[in-house]
Structures are given as C-alpha cells and as structure tokens.
C-alpha cells in the first residue's frame, strides 16, 4: 500500500511454544519501522500482541508511511532484537512510476530440493516486491512427492497435513529455510494461494488429494489450511475475508491477485466433458469475476497485471506424442486424459465460459496491456492469449499475454520422464508449440525463478534457471527473456533471449 506495509514475524516465548503446539503464554512484541537500516530514523513503532491462538505469529500493519519509499523493520521481544527486514511502500495513487521490478515464483516443494531461487532473488537488491503465485508449501508426507524418486529433505510433520496443527508445523518448517528467510527479509511478498496450501486440485467443496471422512471434512480441512496461511504468511487476508485483492503502483501498473481455489466448481472429468463449456460452472466465482473485469478497464494504471495461480492460455496437447511423452505431460498437467491425450481441466481450460468472459471483455473494450502472471505448471511459458484460438494462426489477434514462471523445485517433465534436462522434453515442447501457435516459449525442464521488469514501454520477463535444485548452493543463469511491448498484447523474444 502507498501508506502502509505489513510486517510479519513469529515469536517463541517459552520452549514449549512450538509451532502447532497450542502451548505458551500470550505476549507482546514491539516493532519499529525506520527509514534507514541503522534505525536512527524511526518512522513508526508500536506493540503487537500474540499468543497460542494464532500460533505465536505476529502480523502488524504499520501505517502513516511515505509512498514509494524503502523502509527497514525489526521486532523486539524482551531483550531480543530480530534481524532487520527491508520493505517498501507502493507509489502514491496515480503517481508517475518509471520502473517496477518484481521477483516471480511458485511451486516450492521442500522435499524436492533447496530454495536457491529465493537466495538468488534476495541477493539482487533491486526488487520492489516478490510475487508468490501459489504452492508456497506442499501438503504431502515423505515418499509421496519429492525430487523424482529422491527425498532431498523430508517434510515435517512426516505425513500429509490435514489438520490445523499439521498445517502450522509445515508452515513453520518452511519458514526455517534460510534462503526463504533471506528473501522475506529482502523484499515485501505479494502472495496468493493455489491448491497445495490446502490439498492437490482443491475446489470449493473438495480436492483430488482429500478423502472425505478418512481425512475429516473438507470444510474443516480447508478452514484449517486458511487459518494457518493467515497466521504464517505476510498477507492481509484473515479467515472469513477474501484473499483476492488489487494493488496499484502509481499510474504504471495494477496487480489483481486471484483466488482460484475458494469459489471454483469441481474440475470436469476430462476435456470432452460437457462441463468444460458449461456457462454455469466457474473458476473464479461470480463476485470475483465481476471484480476482475472491473479491474481490467481503460482508466487507471496502464499495465493490468494479474496474479493468476493457474494458466489461462489454452493448451492443446497433440496426440502425435509417444505414449511415454503423453503420460509424462499428463502427470505434469493433471490427471485426466482422453485416449491417452491429456487435458488440464484444473486450469482455465477446464472452465471455458469464464475464460471467454475475460477474453470477450478484453476484446469488446479493446483493452490493452493486460498481462497474466502465472505459476502452477512447473514450467516456463510465454504466450499470447488469442482473441479466437481458431483464427489466431491466420490473424495473430491477441487480447493479452501470459508469462509463466517455472517451479522453484517441484518436478517437471524431464523429472517425470526420468531423462536429463533438455533432452527428451525438447521434442514435446516443439510439438506443443506447433499445436498451439500462441505459445512462443516453453521450457518443460528447468527449475528457477523469474524477474519481471515493468516500464511504460513494455513488460519483460527474465527466466533464470538453477544448475541443480538438489544442491543447496546451486548457481543460476539467465535462460531467456521475452517482452510485451506496450499496446501490442503480444510476447516477443527480448534481446538476448531465444530467437
């Protein structure tokens, strides 16, 4: 926000006040926000209370701050002073902004490797914020989902999380990662959840990875997941509220962060299920759709960024792939197929009426500069969003663009096919790009992170890839870059990127 920031920490007042324990006293924690890292220019300070009711997590809204300004913050409990974190207020409403730079990440499975992506982002020192598009943590137990068949780091608790104490302990485990700590300390996070914050392929009344009864009631499990999320994540969301929200960055950009799990109808059975096109089914819910379309308008900030947990660009998988390739793509994209050809009913592809609402709105109103920023699919993509997929190959008409960051660690195609990176997947990528001409870039193998650079002239995403996700000290290199030039609604290779 232009005048406030959210500060987060957790305090352990007594040895028994362990995450998920429900034990320990209510306590007060002091906080300070300063214009300098030495805390000689304190701009705001106060006291916050917490206790076992919120797992001793502390969330503070520090207000009356100056817009577009970097601040440092710290917490004080008794004689203990926390390490300082850096944060930044958004620019004033309508103010000119030359440039914004965001880290963009998703899909960080503790068991599949190390969070080197977070460390590299933290080291940059040039980020206005980090966008986390979901799957900040995973629900599985050891042995269920890891790095191919290798368990790099076991989850705690050592079983699937289904109850409040489990979710709290798992959040707490992730927060012990020093790379994640470094990134939280380096830049403010703007987060939304996808499915693994609760359970795989969650929808409003259930999830693929939820067994009603044996794992309790979905309503109770979903509520527990949300409560732990609200406690443990630096987000203004509180249970009973809504996490979808819009943030503005002066006249340059708005950012609509979506919630595609709380209001969606159950996934269709497969790609030919009539439910896919049923106008009564929704991925956003009616209220969120109205809100989203209202944010995509010709007045207000130039760039309309959308934090979009699952892909909106249509993706058709060609049936010409080998059986093994099809099986691999199916495992990556989701669990449904017709005659062996996968179709991701968990993405917007499974909710075509809602996607059509968005596309028609953009086309009918000739809205420019809408960019969907997406995670979930453990692969890097740069796509146009066709006005009409059937005529796109001839016309090239595109209403928006989609830039998809890959996974921080979670398995992707080479892992599933059990082949070295950039070998067996390349033919699959080429076949998918040929069948989907609006897909201009696809990397099914790499793990890493993206950096989004936003100026009035264009939006550019740089994809950085890790050398080895299972190495705690992995380096990263720039893989490719794509531009969206203002007014065009199309992705093009950036200088230095793929040609």
């Amino acid at each position: 926000m232009p005048d406030s920031v959210l500060l987060w920490t957790r305090v352990t007042p007594t040895p028994e006040s362990l995450p998920g324990s429900g034990a320990g006293p209510d306590v007060s924690v002091r906080w300070e926000v300063s214009a300098d890292s030495a805390f000689t220019k304190v701009a705001a300070r106060g006291t916050a209370s917490t206790g076992p009711g919120r797992d001793h997590t502390v969330k503070v809204i520090a207000g009356r701050l100056a817009p577009g300004t970097s601040y440092w913050y710290r917490f004080i409990f008794g004689q203990e002073i926390s390490p300082a974190g850096r944060t930044r207020t958004a620019p004033a409403a309508g103010a000119p902004v030359d440039r914004l730079k965001f880290g963009v990440v998703s899909c960080a499975n503790w068991q599949a490797g190390y969070f080197s992506s977070y460390r590299h982002l933290a080291a940059r020192g040039d980020l206005d914020a980090v966008l986390h598009l979901g799957d900040y943590l995973y629900e599985y137990g050891p042995g269920e989902y890891q790095a191919r068949d290798v368990l790099v780091r076991p989850h705690e608790p050592a079983h699937e999380m289904t109850q409040l104490a489990h979710y709290r302990r798992r959040h707490a485990q992730y927060k012990t990662d020093t790379d994640l700590q470094a990134l939280h300390a380096a830049a403010p996070f703007i987060v939304t959840w996808d499915d693994h914050e609760s359970a795989n392929d969650a929808w409003k009344s259930g999830a693929e990875n939820h067994t009603e009864g044996a794992e309790g009631a979905w309503s109770a499990r979903f509520a527990a997941a949300r409560q732990a999320y609200a406690e443990w994540m630096p987000v203004r969301y509180e249970p009973g509220g809504q996490i979808y929200r819009r943030l503005d960055f002066g006249s340059l950009a708005s950012l609509s962060m979506l919630d595609l799990r709380s209001y969606r109808d159950q996934q269709a059975a497969n790609g030919t299920d009539a439910a896919v096109t049923d106008p009564a089914r929704t991925i956003t819910g009616a209220a969120q759709m109205d809100w989203l379309l209202g944010n995509l308008k010709s007045t207000g900030p130039q760039w309309k960024l959308v934090g979009n947990p699952v892909m909106i660009a249509p993706v058709r998988v060609p049936s010409t792939l080998s059986t093994a390739e099809l099986a691999g793509v199916q495992k990556l994209m989701g669990g449904t197929s017709i005659s062996g050809v996968p179709y991701n009913v968990d993405q917007w592809d499974g909710y075509e009426a809602d996607r059509n609402r968005v596309v028609r709105h953009l086309r009918d109103n000739a809205l420019k500069d809408t960019v969907f920023l997406t995670g979930d699919i453990h692969s890097g993509w740069a796509c146009d969003i066709p006005a009409d997929p059937a005529s796109y190959p001839a016309t090239g008409d595109s209403v928006a663009t989609e830039l998809v960051c890959t996974s921080v660690t979670s398995d992707n195609l080479d892992d599933i096919l059990n082949v070295p990176p950039r070998t067996g997947s390349v033919a699959v990528e080429n076949a998918i790009k040929a069948a989907n001409p609006h897909v201009k870039y696809l990397d099914f193998d790499s793990h890493g992170y993206s950096v989004l650079d936003v100026t009035a002239a264009g939006v550019r995403m740089d994809w950085y890839v890790l050398a080895e996700r299972t190495s705690a000290s992995s380096g990263s290199t720039l893989s490719t870059s794509f531009n969206v030039q203002a007014g065009t609604g199309k992705v093009t290779p950036a200088q230095g990127g793929l040609q």
Binding site: P96, V97, S298, Q302, R363, A366, A457
Partner: protein, 433 residues
Amino acid sequence: MSQSPQQRTPASNIPSTPGRRQFLKFAAAGGAAVVLSSAQGTAWAAPAAGRTRSYVLVVDGCRPDEITATLTPRLAGLRAASTNFPAARSLPVMETIPNHVMMMTGVRPERSGVPANAIFDRAEGVVRDLDRSTDLHFPTLLDRLQERGLTTGSVLSKKYLYGIFGTRASYRWEPQPLLPVTGHAPDAATMDALLAMVGGPDPDFVFTNLGDIDRVGHSDLTGTTLRAAREAALADTDVQVGRFIDHLKSTGKWDTSMVMVLADHSMDWSIPTNVVSVDLILQSRPELQSNITIAQNGGADLLYWTGPEAERTDGLAAVGQLVAAHDGVLSVNRPADLRLGVEAGDLVAYCRAGWRFSDPYVVSNPIPGNHGHPATEPIPFFISGGSPLVVPGTVSSEPARTADVAPTIGTIYGLKAPAGGYDGTSRSSALRL
C-alpha cells in the same frame, strides 16, 4: 528524403475576395494549384522568427498497431523519437467529427454540442451530419490562439470537417478534389495543401486531417481486398507524412516545430452476418418502433424517443432492455454517463467487437470497417518534432485522450484554459517547459 517531390509554394496573387473571405493560390506538386482562404484583412506575410510552430496530424482511423517499421517507417520513426502515449484512447462517441472537435476544444461533447457524426436534429426533424459551423458551441484552438496574436490553419481532408470548423482558422484549405462516395480529398492532395500552407502563410499552428486510411476502411464493401487496400493506404499516408517532415527539415523549420500525431478513433471489422439492426429488434414491438428514431454511427446507435412524453420513461426502459439482449450489443448507455449532451438523444447503444449497427435498415450499413464502439478506442498518440520543447524517446503511461490536444497545444503558447476549464489534460510531460 527522396520521396519528397519538387515543390515550390510562392504566393501568386489574390484572385478574388467573395463574401468575407480572401483567397490565395499556391503552386503545388505536379503543377496543380492549392487555394487557401482567410478572413478578409488577414496578413499573408510570414510571422516573426523565434516562435514555436506546432502541427497536429490526424491519421484518421489508424490503429496503433498499424504503425510498424516495415509498413509505415516514417510514422514509426517519428514515434520512436517522440514522447509516446501507448495507453491513448478516443472518446465517446468514437467517430470523426466529435473527436476532432474534442481535440480542438479540449472539452467533452456535453459542452461542445458535438457528440457524434450523425444525430437526429429534433428541430429539423431529420437525421443529419453535424457538419455545420453553427453546430459547434465552444471556442476552439483555431480561434482562441488568434486572440493571442497567433495565426492558425486548418487542412481538413473531409468535407464535413471543413464544414464544422468552417472559417475558424486564420487560414483554411477547402478540401478538393473530393472523391465520390467517401467525400474526402486524397492524402496526396491534402499534403499538397499543408505544404502550401506551411510554405506560404506559415501559421503558428496547423490542424490537419489525413483521411485515406479511414476511408479505405469504409469503402471496400466486399471486404475481399480490404487488407491489401488498407496496407496500401497506410503506406501512402506514411509517404505523405514523410513529405511533411522532409519539408520542415529542408526549410529549416524542423528545429522550431512540434509535431503531434494521433488518430481520432481506430477501426474494427465485421463480417456481413454480424449486424445489429435496432429497427429490426423493435419490429416485434411496433408501439416502440414507431416512437424511436435512430441516428446510426457505425459501431454506435443513437436512439431518440419521438413518442408521447408520458410514455418516454417506460418506452426507453423497454427499448434498452430489448436492444441490450442482442448478442452483438455490448451495452446500452445513457448519454449523460458518456458525457454526451442532449444532442445525443436518449440512449446510446454500443456493439461488440466484430459487429456493426445497420439502421434504419439491415442493408443501410454494408461497410465492414466501422468505429464508434469501445473496440475502436485505442489510438496512436505521440508528440515529436525538432523543437527543444519536445522530450524525445520517451514512453508515458499517462492515459492520453483526444480531448488532451487543445490543453497540450495551449500549454506551448501560454493559452489560458477556456471558461469552465478543459475536460482534457495537458500532456506537458512530453514538453520541456
């Protein structure tokens, strides 16, 4: 540079002074003559040195994505060296006359009296174009700058634009030759006139409309040759713009010139089956049909209640509901919500992208290229030129609009806002003041 034809523009004589106008004939490209007019008593001598010249070039109906380095290299080059506003848009109703009026007045139609190309004139009982000088009720840059001792010019390719701006500029070109069907002068002739004006009386400010790109969008009824014809028009208009820039440079005027390039609206193409006829929609309700008069504006229909006053509210509600239910209709709006005045009638219907209105009959509008609806709002809008006032090579997020032209030009000359202020915004971020 080599595209610029050999040209001489000496003042030859003052042949006649019929009415309150005086005329001056200039030699133009290919031996043709360009006749400019002015108010009687206006000096033809070139103004003082050291001033800033400013030019507004309207590439009528050009979509921002049609300006490319390969198809329109001169425009693309100008844009690259400009302050560019990629978020720029046309304003309701996205038609030629109202947006040119917004450019020159800086105010919305509710204050200028000019909401659309075609309206139903209740006093005269006819649907007609707003092409009379008396239709425009607000002072324009063309006359207001003269009050500050500056000179202005209008070089407008379309007959109806010349009509509505009339004799407001110090120097005017009356468009000719006019092509049949389209009622506009080709860009080559328009550019001859602009060069004659800049080479002759050399006004401080000139307002120019280049109509070819738009007219190609309208004139191909079959649509089969549309893309090729459109690209040919874009390429040719680009050549004409190049002639202008070359002229400024070769005459040493570039260094004191600001050149603002924009469109009044863009263009959207529909197939013959995607036609909305409000008259047809109302056929099932004769009591409504007989009480509604329609002024068709391509992608927008202006609906006027002409029935008994007592039935107006319920009648308009019913009409609005019926029209909005059509697949091709995007929205039905109250004119006041679009900042249109009473001239716009009682309801304004917009079509969706890829559709058009055709009223009063389904065959009334056979042309595939239309505008007036929101799909045709995005426009190119950039401020270039050799003047040190111009900030080059910059892209701005600011939401530029057609109504911003008058306040921006006004800023250059220290012109005060008109009574009641501008509705547009001076894009002074493009200027070093």
